[in-house]
Symmetry: C2
């Protein structure tokens, strides 16, 4: 079983890395790029023995406690 | 218009950061975590004036040339 966790900065939080990418691609000649924001992405392989409910619970807890900083980041968990 | 770009290491490529996360959560008492792999995630805001076709083209090119290293990374682009 696989969980995908997406971690993004909350809307109000400055993202200097994203800004740097936007400026760079602007200088490289890409047109029409209004904004870039960078986040993190995790693929977690879970033992099949966990079962769907436990797997989601584990992935959600891991996202909240380990992978994201809930003060400045949002996260989203998908189970496949 | 928004493009989402997911960048992941190719399957054969070692991911020490992912391994470190897996070991840490193991020590923290999380059970059933077989593997963790870390990737990157980008949200790109594109000018509406680009239109769907041009927007996808721009995002794909940016993923290939700037955001991912095609030697060791795969990428996926979604347009919303």
């Amino acid at each position: 079983m696989k969980a995908k966790v997406y971690v993004t900065l909350k809307p109000g939080v400055l993202d200097p890395q994203g800004k740097a990418i936007r400026n760079s691609v602007g200088l490289m000649g890409y047109g029409g790029i209004a904004d870039v924001r960078q986040g993190k992405y995790f693929e977690i392989a879970l033992d099949e023995s966990l079962g769907g409910e436990r797997a989601r619970e584990t992935a959600e807890r891991m996202a909240r406690e380990v992978l994201a900083n809930p003060v400045i980041e949002d996260y989203r968990v998908e189970i496949e």
